[in-house]
Symmetry: D2
């Protein structure tokens, strides 16, 4: 059998999501990373920055160059927001499929993007056709998308946790509460005081209670699921662990006791390769999905019988970023959706 | 000036709360620990179990003996539930003041105690006069109490966070949500799989969603504050840190925008030595109170304007256990409430 | 091409090395785990103990039964010492290849085994033919071995670090110092006070300075390499991390400056798939090999010019246990030595 | 009794050693911090940077001004090297006692300072009279010193561990090996990639094997103790914990078995308030001295009978920096050496 090779470029591969893309793609049977770009690290080999890649990746970073990137079949953007929307139009014109891990292609409404990210959108037309890359919701559209806006980490955990409830119309959409906890890698690989070991170890804090950029992204997604307006309180917390997001989701049942929630969740996700519904009464741990693309969910009803509590965990760098990006890549190229994503989690 | 010496006994001092009582009391200007008991470690010096006490405490554990304990002025119980209620009546009869860190004297209703702890109460009469040891609520009664039921760790953080709102009647008491995160020391010093480093490090999970013993204690306290029935969802989470509790508390305002919540909290706690209200918009960190008796609180209103979000942090071993016990001890013996509790937190 | 399936049994798969064997073998292209045994957990599915295996392993534990195990082609022992030597003879007689991760088959001299492990050896004849499973030293003999004694974690890191120096006869064998640091998973999955999160987090200590069971194993290995008596000080330390061993190895050069040590190490390990020699001046990190079978080594000369300092890191559960066991399995069955062991490390 | 108040200034109090000085001094019965300086944070209150100081310190940072600092009785420098030597002469001229936590006044030989720190010394005359602030060695001279060069963290742990052996002339001074492990706070509070949580958590590495600035400081100290040349290999390691240094020290005995090392250490440190010698066979933990000024030491002889192994632990921010600085301050002002330094360690 002839094995197709899909040429892949990664723009901005010096952060944790870039390194994670490499970790996954170097073992992908059909993808071949042919180009890594970084203005800052141009000339340096990726395995010098990331010794875990020694023996797995011989590529060096080169300065970003759209013309050269056009030789790829697919380009991943693992850049801060604002970069992908500058380069994507030329790539798409050249027939390159684009998967953007930043926020540039996540919002249907460029005004929302501007309000939360402070930039005018550089290509609103391309934004209009971009598909939000949550396969459990948009699988069909992702297959044919030219540009995929890969979801944020919190939004992935929260949306997958609420999805069955909202689709089924079982809960009050006006009083949703998402209390979320994230490992420190979610803050990226930039040196900053707030991410230093001595600042976050042996401690926990909430942050961004007054407003976090993932809030509008979650609200957009939940609104589509519910088909109605969403009232959501979202509080992220910083946890002294490297990877992992735990979303604890609260909602009020319209009719307590009316629906078998366990069955609802199991049915909704029965054929999803990367959503794992635990048995009734269980509690997922973030380490149980470390290094894997799985979102693991448990659904509970509080003793009052009226409040649903959903526990949803992911690895923020995998299902919350690079793994989901590869899942989207697989869909876009007609491959088995799980290629490159089948290794068991690493635990302990 | 003559310095009064109050003779103190500690029953069951081999756990973390016992060690923490010693850490605090060995520097207390008026207390002198004269007796430490432990059936299991009898004969062993406390500083062999707890090397941090070397040079600070020369006592050895002895088997628990009520008669000998009656020579103390005050006895702290740092035992699992079920022990204090057996020994307290004889001590009280002998004029010894009792401060129980277990659950034995926390519940007004022995039936609630039995439902959640599985034991018939051994001295319901003494229970009836016992005072719940939350000084911010019961200061006057604690001063004269013969028996104080020292609050649990989660209940302390949650009650202090909700207190101003409930007293002022500003929120819907039927839809309260307390999403709480605790360090591992809260699970005690017993060897068990679920507390092992390799099981909890670099991970986070919820537990006890179906029912946790601190739920009825919190509900009892909030009910008294509100003067009406309480509907509370309480979800505890295990965090890879040693000390610290972070309670993230949600409530629905009856009349959004009607009250200045920041002023309300500042006023309510203005004269409290161990409650510190942060400025509007701040986020407390658990490490900021590590080793101290402070409960630090920030109050936020969600962007929807209707949901109050209170962030409340304590050190579970200090304000959540042994520090609060010493605060109660100070009150009971007419001392300055802060004696022994004035060292700054240890951070980083 | 017909893909051969090798039937594998795992005895005692309830610890961390057992779980790690499963993690590796469920993705191995030629091995099929057909039997898991555990007296204590008989009847329970492996993925209930280890949720990371959900979707990857549907096996349940069964009580150990030599007769049933004889249907396997290979049996791994992930048991405490004393078990494998009881069951191995019958298995070997039945033609089953045995890979023992415990200490039962590591020592050539049963008297040494008895001195350090307190047991008479149950099958000294089988011990006599067993091969010490360090492929970088014994590859040829491992291929044909019926029983392999898989090395301990510290011994693997230390031996690979000293190997080129001792083989080349460059250092004083009488004054070797191995200062080693290990993550907590090395202490196993049994609940014990010394492995609890609140006991080891945010702390470091040496242990076993007076004598540790890995000392005679290391000495045996180094003696064979050097062909002369070894004087070794070995001090292990417990580090607040889950996985990883860092061996810092000191030796005195016979003739300072005479040899190019960097070239020596690179040459010695040029064709080793799982030993990675860093460039001169580099420092390996344990996280750089997390989850992988690589031993990463850097060689330094102290400023005095006479002291060699070798830094050698492994993942104690992989190259220090289960990964090396699979490497040995591959060799024993004539497979590519790297099968099942090629995924990049997980970092951060 | 009249309580003397000693006015204290802290230059550069925005790092961890500055915060730690404040933590200690705000509770010191005779010191009063009257001035905090920082160019960068001028105008900001210290308790905004360090919330743990809320309620303990109302000072704000001001720009450094030698004239204003001259109103202090004592000035601590918690600055990077190069600052104290610029300001100290004027302060000393004004009668201010100076305690420098940087390296400026640690080296007798300005050429050594220049070689390792890259700067010409700004005041070699003052350097000539400065006293190295290790009280266990230089107590008498510290009492009268005008300038004290406070030791580095590694140097404190290493020198106190070797001191009895070298003074007694029992070991070969040419083959000393100090394998040291430090928590991340030792790297300071500056944002840098290598100190980020996701870079150091769950990992361990050696660094600076080719040369570390604490090496010449240690060698200078050991040389004085031994009265002869020192050959020392020093390898520092970065450990995923916040505070703590563990020095594992190796030395060859001249005459194995000739001396009772346990008695030697106990005798040498019998009257030292901050050196605690453990019983024979014990292993100190870094957490056992967390937050305290104690150096805890255990002395072992390796099974070969010829190698002494000393385990020496300190809190790098206390005995390794700010606590030792306050100990020196107490000595310089004729106070009880332990003032402000008597709280028990915080553990767990």
């Amino acid at each position: 059998m002839l094995r197709a090779v899909i040429k892949v470029g990664i723009v901005g591969g010096t952060g944790y999501t870039g390194a994670e893309l490499l970790r996954i793609l170097v073992r992908h049977p059909h993808a071949q990373v042919v180009m890594l770009t970084s203005r800052q690290e141009a000339g340096r080999r990726a395995d010098q920055l990331f010794p875990q890649l020694r023996g797995h990746c011989a590529l060096a970073f080169e300065p970003p160059d759209v013309t050269r990137l056009c030789a790829c079949d697919a380009v991943f953007f693992a850049t801060p927001h604002g970069t992908a929307m500058q380069m994507a139009p030329a790539l798409v014109d050249a027939g390159v499929r684009v998967i953007d891990l930043s926020a540039d292609f996540r919002f249907a409404d460029p005004a929302v993007f501007k309000r939360w990210y402070g930039l005018d959108h550089a290509c609103p037309q391309l934004l209009a056709e971009a598909v939000y890359g949550l396969p459990e919701v948009n699988r069909a559209r992702i297959r044919t998308a030219r540009v995929v806006g890969n979801p944020g980490c919190y939004p992935t955990a929260v949306q997958l946790g609420y999805l069955p409830l909202l689709e089924a119309g079982l809960v009050d959409c006006d009083t949703l509460i998402a209390d979320c906890k994230s490992g420190v890698s979610g803050a990226g690989r930039e040196a900053k005081l707030g991410s230093m070991f001595s600042e976050v170890a042996d401690s926990l804090k909430a942050y961004g209670v007054g407003g976090h950029r993932h809030w509008p992204e979650i609200v957009q997604g939940l609104t589509r699921m519910a088909g109605s307006a969403i009232g959501l309180s979202f509080v992220p917390h910083l946890v002294p662990m490297v990877r992992g997001i735990h979303a604890t989701l609260y909602a009020r049942l319209h009719r307590p006791g009316a629906a078998d929630l366990q069955a609802l969740f199991e049915r909704r996700y029965a054929s999803e390769p990367f959503v794992d519904v635990l048995a009734s009464g269980d509690h997922p741990e973030t380490r149980g999905v470390r290094g894997s693309n799985v979102c693991r969910i448990a659904v509970h009803v509080a003793p009052d019988g009226r409040t649903v509590i959903v526990l949803s965990v992911i690895d923020n760098l995998v299902k919350g970023a690079s793994g989901q990006a590869v899942q989207n890549f697989n869909l876009m190229f007609g491959l088995d959706e799980t290629l490159g994503l089948v290794s068991p989690p690493l635990s302990p």
